[in-house]
């Protein structure tokens, strides 16, 4: 695509950890082929936090699953692109080599810890398993490491709770265990898929702070998948906005908030309720996200876009370089970025 190289030169220190290039994923079902991911590009450098923002069905989770190699196949298939991790294409690795990377250097935190943890095994067993399998520890040693980890993520009385089962913990504590599991072997990169969505608002902030703090401490890269703009602002360095299986805008977090370069991003920002605008009708992007079996031609956002012109219906916009480290997939990005950030 356009100027891949110059787009993301701002990696804050360290080399590029993860480089997703033109990734394509489709789901083959009885009702047709769903194009979930249609050429996604993003990079994460060591120590960087990238937020991937998008609605349900925008392909953000599917991308993450493809990176980790945990797509349900069938029906999901990676049909194109590269996933470079430390410069090596994960998609060309053998299954065994890929397995050894999972959990040790590349880890994932899932949204719903209650269903993501095995209900019939104690959390100590599930944490310790990592050390047994990847580090060859004995069951007893592994158990000790599990307790240490639980202490690490600030679970009270960790040592006495290693034998407890997932359902015996509160939602926040369970998510801490998920985090502990991802941290266990000190990976280079963690992908967190909506890590706080299932939690109470009060607990959300605690868990997010813990995650951010541990990320700094371990100097890891973090891909934070979310649909919540509020979460992003505090922790992310950069944001990639996804729509209909594509990145539509990528920018450093503050630039994006100050002046979005894509009408979709603008719509997302405008639909956040604000205290200073109390009494005014809330803004909502009109229409629905497209069905992934029938993505509109041209710019996939055009049916919902207030700025749509004829060119948007026919030509799919490439990712235009907006500024160093910024790109937007809108024909009219210049117009969009120069607009005042207030509401209509």
């Amino acid at each position: 695509m356009t100027a891949e190289g110059t787009r993301q030169e701002d990696g804050s220190g360290g080399g590029v950890l993860l480089d997703v290039r033109e990734l394509k994923v489709e789901f083959r079902t009885r009702d047709g082929v769903a194009h979930a991911v249609n050429g996604v590009n993003y990079r994460v450098s060591a120590g960087e936090t990238l937020a991937v923002l998008g609605e349900s069905g925008s392909g953000k989770s599917v991308t993450a699953q493809a990176v980790l190699g945990i797509l349900d196949t069938p029906p999901g298939h990676v049909t194109g692109g590269e996933i470079l991790f430390h410069g090596r294409d994960l998609l060309r690795m053998g299954a065994e080599e890929r397995r050894r990377i999972r959990g040790t250097r590349l880890a994932m935190i899932f949204q719903d810890a209650l269903s993501a943890l095995n209900p019939v095994l104690s959390v100590g067993t599930q944490l310790g398993e990592m050390f047994e399998v990847h580090r060859g520890m004995s069951r007893k040693e592994a158990r000790g490491c599990a307790a240490e980890l639980m202490d690490r993520v600030r679970i009270p009385a960790a040592r006495s709770r290693v034998g407890d089962y997932p359902h015996q913990f509160s939602g926040g504590m369970r998510q801490r265990i998920m985090i502990a599991m991802a941290l266990a072997l000190g990976p280079d990169l963690i992908i967190a898929d909506e890590p706080t969505t299932a939690l109470d608002v009060t607990v959300q902030a605690q868990v997010m702070d813990l995650l951010a703090e541990l990320r700094r401490e371990y100097a890891m890269g973090l891909v934070l998948i979310t649909h919540d703009l509020g979460v992003v602002a505090d922790v992310a360095d950069r944001i990639a906005v996804m729509y209909a299986g594509r990145i539509v805008e990528t920018a450093p977090v503050h630039d994006l908030y100050r002046a979005p370069a894509h009408p979709y991003t603008r719509g997302l920002l405008d639909s956040i309720p604000r205290l200073d605008q109390k009494g005014r009708e809330l803004y909502a992007i009109k229409g629905l996200p497209p069905s992934l079996t029938a993505i509109p031609p041209g710019c996939p956002f055009h049916p919902r876009c207030p700025k749509a012109q004829d060119v948007c219906r026919t030509d799919r916009p490439p990712l235009y370089d907006v500024a160093p480290g910024r790109a937007s997939a809108c024909h009219f990005w210049e117009e969009t970025i120069s607009e005042r950030g207030d509401r209509r």
Partner: protein
């Protein structure tokens, strides 16, 4: 179905959330598997839409799926065929199954008698055709009785709860503790008549608790659904709630289990007849014929083959039908 109580206030507004919150998720979710749009799971997922529209779409979706399912088509045609010959056996054979000639005992097939003759010299083809009537009658009547009794009792227990529920559950437990075959042996051995009705009565007597449990559980699940709570909040009475909202949504699992049970009831009748306590001559029954044939299996296996094949095929057809209906009504079980 008219739906005057559609709770408009329960529609998601999509306004004011961080993202335009239309959860029209085509791909994603923990499973990562695209959901089939408009194919809701019954009854667990029942809380999403109001009752009337949902019931309609559930059944029409199910019908849509069923017509394309070869298992359903094959089993449905088989069942239609068996029903037809149960009603009008003379369509297939003009031979009287009770008109036997002992001199033809255990003779093989010959022109006009494609399956040969049994020990009594009766035409095996005619007896196989006429045997469908007893099996189908027992199966259909016993299932209808058990489903009606169990469905109503279980449904009411689930709906009202309390002492009525506790009492019914205990009574159901008592019947449950008696294995069907044993109960049948004991019960039917003291009933002199060898016609189908005592068998039907007995199967209803021991079969209803199973369906009552299903109906109770199903009603309990649907009762928790938002649309029922909404209807209740809007002041719908018990009768209305039960008939309009609960019954159409809770009945699917009962139908599924009843269809599969129909097949097993037919097998049970044949087993009891085989043991000499179910149907008795002169009633023509596959079970009796198999019992007779089993004594001669070394000399004349053809006598066993045809009634046993017909019996197995009938049971298979109903079990397959039940499977297909369950798949159509509950996509989650696929």
């Amino acid at each position: 179905m008219p739906e005057p109580e559609r709770p408009e206030s329960f529609q998601p507004s999509g306004v004011g959330t961080p993202l335009p919150a239309v959860e029209a998720e085509t791909v994603g979710g923990p499973g990562g598997t695209p959901e089939v749009p408009g194919a809701p799971g019954a009854p667990q997922g029942a809380g999403v839409q109001p009752a009337g529209g949902r019931a309609r779409s559930l059944w029409s979706d199910a019908w849509h799926d069923l017509r394309r399912n070869p298992v359903f088509v094959v089993s449905g045609l088989l069942i239609l065929f068996f029903l037809l010959i149960a009603v009008r056996p003379s369509l297939l054979t003009s031979t009287d199954p009770l008109d036997c000639d002992i001199t033809l005992s255990q003779e093989g097939a010959r022109s006009g008698h494609p399956f040969g003759f049994d020990t009594q010299g009766c035409d095996v083809f005619a007896r196989t055709v006429y045997g469908a009537r007893a099996s189908v009658t027992v199966g259909v009547c016993a299932t209808a009785g058990a489903a009606l009794l169990g469905g109503v009792l279980g449904g009411l227990a689930g709906f009202f709860g309390g002492w009525w529920d506790a009492l019914l559950s205990r009574v159901a437990d008592m019947f449950f503790a008696i294995p069907m075959l044993l109960g049948g042996l004991v019960f039917l051995s003291v009933v002199p008549s060898g016609s189908v009705w005592p068998v039907v009565g007995f199967i209803v007597l021991l079969g209803w608790p199973q369906l009552a449990r299903i109906a109770r559980g199903s009603v309990l699940t649907v009762k928790q659904a938002d649309f029922v709570q909404a209807a209740r909040a809007l002041g719908a009475g018990n009768t209305r709630l039960l008939l309009r909202h609960l019954a159409p949504n809770a009945v699917a699992p009962v139908i599924v289990v009843a269809t599969i049970a129909l097949g097993t009831y037919i097998a049970l009748e044949a087993t009891l007849s085989y043991l000499g306590v179910g149907l008795k001559p002169p009633t023509v029954s596959w079970g009796i014929d198999i019992s007779e044939a089993s004594k001669q299996i070394r000399n004349a296996p053809h006598m066993l083959l045809w009634p046993a094949g017909a019996l197995s095929l009938t049971v298979l057809a109903f079990i397959m039908l039940g499977d297909a209906v369950r798949d159509a009504l509950d996509p989650k079980l696929r």
